[in-house]
């Protein structure tokens, strides 16, 4: 779904300030070109200072003042911060930690997501807010809660987890079998014996607990949706601000009932790596497979990292344009101004503690002007469709994280190991759920897709059968949906496609040489010893060199012709240069070429307008130094208004927005 808007905004907390100050804040916002603010998501104690006593007038006045300045409002439901009067009345709302302690008041998300008293209070405040503001013409969307992240270990959660299991498995016999509880005498003879895992535990139990956490949040989210939606005017959307690669629950499941995905994009220490952030954008775009919002991002610095350095001058602007080219409809800074007291006094803001613009304000103002000016150009545009997809699976990820086998084998880093060499060549790539349909792709990569289900097998077979390319990697297809080993060598039910099976896998204490047809390098962290399956059209394309004896001379990578498609099985975890060479070759063979080559650190993204198909090329220099790009065609540059061609110099963090001058 293509974008409809191009917003710049900020989180705003009028409840922290005397009302006299509001007009000055809003004046400064308007001058900076902000078109939207988010409000309310921590304001419960201001909106309902005592049980049932709602105070919505102040918020309405703030919305109205903003409206008058032409600034739209996104409202947050304030449930991430239940007020003290509520937890005092119902102490069981406080979550319990691994040590059995009730969490304290005064930090966020102190709630047990399953507490009935919390559910009741949350439904009431959300319902009341919805009634008051759901049809307000200036309120364009809602954010539910804020960055869901708490796990509770209370007795109620344990009981509900047991109920969840009873409901899912039906009988203890089934559960005992799926979890192989005969092992270590874990066998359960009563549902009430099953614990919430603290630390390591049975992989089957751990996976179900993560599913239970997802389910708990989903119920809590649905409760809010049900309180909210009946009161909304048409077109008002509901979202939640996720935290990128956060692994606390299944984000695909959580996104299902939302209208829009959004996320909070923070760099922390150091500077933005556009290939990593690009992947995070693709991840979030993949939640709903449509454009998304950057609901929070840092204006300069954060306050929670080891070194809270500021982004370089210009870096935030480059990042904002980068987000837009990956499908963001809006970029909101967190926050407008820091509360005078409270845990986040030192977080980056747009105006400082004195209420005056910080130096960063000028960068915001420039962006505001640019977004406003180029909004018509970008209207109806979307990132050019990707022909390459990377499959992502929370359950495989958790399973790998709990049992990495090598301390440095990180699921996400391994996924990025496939994403980065493709994105570095300006080739569009999606990151999607491993359960998503694969129509439209020519190359699909399944990095460490540990957990293999029948549905996935069918979809992958059908994908390859259509003449496409599939890349399987280490740790693929080793387990079933109960986190149990499949009683088969990897890649289990995909062996027929792969044409190889994994005779053994090795965590590596030292890199192992790998010699391929188009590269030579090493495998690090991991190596799988492949064996050709007879009567397949399999060709080894890389072998291991001398190392631990088990791998010497064995197949590291093979490709198989299956029906009209090709399946690569990559047993190695290649070094970066070898990986780039391998990926280049695969893409070349698949006929996928970049539109434009750029030097390292420079990104080119193409957007296409839904109606008319006009192409917009955005080139972003993510490096704090000048760079040169060669344009193969003359172009109109929309930020400057000039027409350019040939060698183009990009300033540090420079951005150019082009349409082809030869075709328009």
């Amino acid at each position: 779904m293509s974008r409809t808007v191009l917003h710049l905004g900020a989180a705003y907390y009028p409840e922290h300030w005397p009302e006299e100050r509001w007009p000055e804040d809003i004046r400064l916002m308007r001058e900076a070109g902000l078109s939207v603010v988010r409000m309310g998501e921590f304001a419960w104690s201001s909106l309902e200072p005592a049980s049932g006593e709602f105070r919505f007038d102040w918020l309405e006045r703030a919305i109205t003042l903003l409206e008058e300045a032409g600034i739209l409002t996104v409202l947050g439901t304030p449930t991430a911060a239940p007020p003290a009067w509520l937890t005092q009345a119902y102490p069981e709302i406080f979550a319990v930690d691994e040590y059995g302690r009730r969490v304290q008041h005064g930090n966020r998300c102190h709630y047990c997501v399953n507490a009935p008293a919390f559910h009741a209070a949350a439904a009431r405040i959300v319902g009341a807010m919805a009634q008051r503001f759901g049809k307000h013409p200036n309120v364009i969307g809602w954010q539910l809660d804020n960055e869901y992240n708490r796990v509770c270990y209370c007795d109620r959660c344990r009981r509900l987890f047991q109920d969840y299991l009873a409901c899912k498995y039906g009988t203890l016999e089934a559960l005992n079998e799926r979890w192989t509880t005969a092992y270590w005498s874990q066998t359960y003879s009563g549902w009430e014996q099953i614990p919430i895992p603290i630390g390591g535990h049975n992989p089957g139990l751990m996976l179900e607990f993560k599913r239970f956490v997802t389910e708990s949040y989903r119920k809590f989210q649905r409760l809010q949706l049900e309180a909210l939606r009946p009161h909304l005017r048409p077109g008002v959307w509901v979202t939640h601000n996720f935290m990128g690669w956060y692994n606390g629950y299944d984000h695909y499941a959580m996104s299902e009932e939302l209208d829009l995905a959004s996320w909070d994009w923070y760099v922390g220490s150091g500077h933005n790596d556009y290939l990593n952030s690009g992947a995070a954008h693709e991840l979030v775009r993949g939640f709903k497979r449509r454009s998304f919002w950057v609901m929070e991002t840092q204006p300069g610095c954060v306050n929670w990292s080891a070194i809270n350095n500021a982004l370089n001058r210009g870096e935030a602007r480059a990042m904002a344009w980068h987000a837009v080219t990956h499908g963001a409809e809006a970029v909101l800074y967190w926050q407008w101004r820091a509360a005078l007291n409270g845990q986040e006094q030192y977080h980056g803001t747009i105006v400082d503690q004195s209420g005056q613009p910080r130096p960063f304000y000028e960068e915001v103002r420039r962006l505001g002007e640019e977004f406003a000016r180029l909004a018509p150009l970008f209207e109806g545009s979307a990132p050019a469709p990707a022909r390459v997809a990377i499959l992502h699976c929370y359950e495989s990820r958790w399973a790998v994280e709990w049992q990495p086998h090598h301390r440095d084998f990180d699921y996400v880093a391994h996924l990025l190991h496939y994403y980065r060499p493709i994105a570095a060549r300006n080739i569009p790539v999606d990151i999607i759920s491993a359960d998503a349909p694969l129509q439209g792709y020519k190359v699909v990569i399944a990095p460490a897709l540990l957990i293999m289900t029948g549905t996935r097998v069918e979809e992958l077979k059908s994908f390859v059968a259509r003449g496409n390319r599939l890349i399987l990697t280490p740790r693929c297809a080793m387990k079933d949906e109960y986190n149990a080993l499949l009683p088969a060598r990897q890649p289990g039910p995909l062996a027929e496609l792969a044409g190889v099976e994994v005779e053994d896998y090795y965590a590596l204490d030292e890199p192992v040489p790998v010699k391929g047809n188009w590269f030579s390098g090493v495998s690090r962290l991991w190596a799988e010893r492949l064996k050709k399956i007879e009567q397949t059209y399999t060709t080894p394309i890389a072998h291991y060199g001398p190392s631990n004896g088990w791998l010497d001379g064995q197949i590291a990578i093979a490709v198989n012709v299956w029906r009209t498609g090709l399946v690569y099985y990559v047993g190695a975890y290649l070094d970066d240069a070898a990986q780039q060479a391998f990926i280049n070759r695969v893409l070349l063979m698949a006929g996928i070429r970049p539109e434009l080559e750029t030097p390292p650190g420079v990104e080119m993204r193409k957007l296409v307008k839904a109606e008319g198909g006009q192409e917009i090329f955005v080139i972003i220099n993510h490096v704090n130094g000048e760079q040169t790009v060669h344009l193969p065609w003359p172009a109109r540059e929309h930020l400057s208004g000039f027409t350019i061609k040939g060698e183009v110099r990009l300033a540090p963090y420079g951005v150019i927005v082009l349409t082809r001058a030869d075709t328009t």
Copy 2:
């Protein structure tokens, strides 16, 4: 206040040994030249083996034996180690930790400082000891408890904390406003909702909790003082042995009602850095602004560090003289001999487990002889008055430690960054409370004086107005006494003095070049971008070089002429060489010059006698290697009795004590 005594001593625990051994110990002490011992501070179970059954005779016998050997006694109140019969009777005396566990018997300071049953038992034992020993002619002073350090998380403490807040703020409205509790919906509608902070929390609440801890210890200390003082003969002082830079409470508040400050000086692993230990001595001297005691120091090694290496031969002697020159009236080793069992068996001692002198004994004996011989010379002397003062503030320190913003920004290290280049040049410097009066100083430095109050502003203005120099540094004057941001750019109410304001502050992931008028170097960890305030007499004296874009070319350091004084605002955290150059220049301009220049590692300290004003110069080689000092005048050396002049060679860890031969 100048010294009256020059004591060498040790902690002695006669209760660990059969009484037959005591005479031999005391004989060895006398031979070593010890003039004082501290006893009793962990002897509760020996002094009161069951409730109300006092056994003081043994202690009296020990005091008498010591008296006969000419050795004075300092008595400790034994409250740091409440006996098992007491905690068994009143388990609520055991402190509660962050996990809700009651602390165990058998390690020190296991008490809840607010437990009424503990208060009653403490007052009783202290009162009884005071009655028995308060007028004993050989008991010259008392130490209360031992190294206060425990924080308790029990329900009683929480309730008392809430009472403390209610008493201080009067209304919840006031508290909610000062802490900006609207933020994260923290708003309190009942005092009983307020938690004791575990981990990070609202900065206002955290600061008040530290004040509450200080207040709790202060009450406990007052209770002991009230039990003790009525029974003391005139001249007997009361102290507590603090732990140098320990940050558990406000030491200025704790020192107020004491007669004397003392501290426990331990090096731990490695060797003594005399500039660091010098600063610690100034700190403790600043608690009461008079001479102090080193109540404990290590005879060789400690037992609690990662590597409990011994001080080098001669190093302890150099350290003892160093303490004396910084205002110590006494140096006591901990301890005389190790108990045969118990947690500190391996701690350094003067006699070993066999009861025979250790090799270190000889070094003590030498010191004993020197202290006795030179006592008349040092009588009535005090360190030459400092014309430079560094302001220190526990509340600013805590606030910085809780929110360092850069993991390596350490409040004390930053303070030492100003102390060291001055002390390295043998220029006297005081470290005093930021609330102390500033009479007598020509230069005052306020390193990271984050918290600014009206009183401080007035004192600083008046100080500068008198024609003096003030140096403000990064993080100065950013917050009020509730740990809330001031709604003004730094340095807030001092901006008029400084002539600059901080447009923005930056935690640095990389050092940033700084070019000054008299130096060039870098700023590391932190940089503040300064902006000249119009209509001030401000001169930039250093600028930032190219770096993150925000700082490039901006003002790093400026100096302003205000009334007849000068105010430096240092926005940078300079490298050591640049800092030395900067400090040298400031001192030069202020007309402050060292009396004597010494090579690195060699310290010169001047003492002045109250009556007659005789000057004593002590030169100490803190390096394990020979060093040469050039004397500008002939002098009498009092340890050797020789007259010396010109080039003087100092042995490794050598000490010379001089008076000018040309002026006496």
Copy 3:
């Protein structure tokens, strides 16, 4: 006691698999040459699925199937994994951790070893298994529980600990004196005041708590022995699988009532260091002073280390032969095949998740063939008797570990510092309890034998008086059996033997030069300053060079002639080269020479047959590279059947088994 068997085996869990699979597993075992399996040790819930309902038939069928294949069975009692129905009925069986939390079901050893309900249930299942299988001709031995390792902090354990102390000390006066509780006012006036230590505590209390833990496990073990033994046919042994150097309890005490010691040998990350593993074998051989079993070892890799890399090809075979030469009667791999779910899915196995042989299977098969073929040769053989013994003491070890004084002073590493240079020269060495008789040895080394008792003194005196050599090292003889300092300089009651006393000991922050008669090098971590005792025949053989002043020129090592023996006191912790030179010299003087010199990484071990005294020489290349050994005599090589002489090339991880061709 010499070996009777040479077994290769594996842990097998038929309860994880459908019975149809068993024949295939057993077929593969037989083909691999396995002669024994261990079963049952985690099968409680399969053997007793509900209270008192025993299901032994399946196990009997498994034993029978194995019997038919010629494979013997070792049975484990399943008490390490109490089933959920039991802990649900008696929640007090769950151990309590340091935080007061009950441990969860689902990981091993979740029991409180002192829980009466657990004792009852354990006795019942063990008794029932014994009745059913005790006389089974194919069941040759029993393993009790599995890797005892839990410490419980429950109130019952605390009460029992107090009872234990009351029983041992009789009066509190005695306890207070032994522990010097006057220190820190720890004095106990009631047994119920004494805590279980959490973190550091009084050394006397900590040592007694370790003894109490040992005693608790010993009672639990005895309870099983009593349930088991009456039902066993003659010749069936009982063991426990210890964990090498694990320090949780006194393994000598635990081994006393067992028939056989066994251990679980895991490398974890990296590769096997044969000198370290050799020491571990000697340790376990020392538990019962007879041959032992390797009850578990890794087939390739483990799953619980930071990097779970595989052993190199051939490495496991070399390790198996290495174990045999150190006295192992059996080597069992853990495990045959991984359960499809459960915490150890990724642990190395012999067959893979698909049930097919892994590549490692071939290495097992080779070993199986070799073991079977050479069993007659090895029958009745034992490692050649050692004339060097190293004394090992759990109590000294704990005392050093609790108070290392230097973070890198590790008791076991220090012991290995003496073991390695001897073993590296192929000289047999025993590691035995410091309370074992010393008959038969010519050299005894007491590394850091901190705790000295009257019995030990007598044994050592008598040993030296017989004309032998004793080496005392740093930290020897400093404490008594209450972990109290002896009121004497080291080596206390051994000073007469040593001819020196320790004037002081120093943890070192930097290495200190040591110059000896036959070497020069450094002492690191630790140095003791030795002083000659008058009227002894003591000769200094090494002195310290210039360093901290205290050590400069002092004696580092001395040797004393006492009666007809020699006593070395080594005050230094030498670098490896100096230590090798020193050890070489001591051995040379004692007339102990290796039978055969081998290059680094190559081990030669001699075994001798009890009847006839035939000598077997096994040479093992522990290096992943070819090595050459020079044979001084012609020999028959039994693996190849060839006769060889002179230069012999060993393949990477190569093994040769020789008997002399000139003497047979």
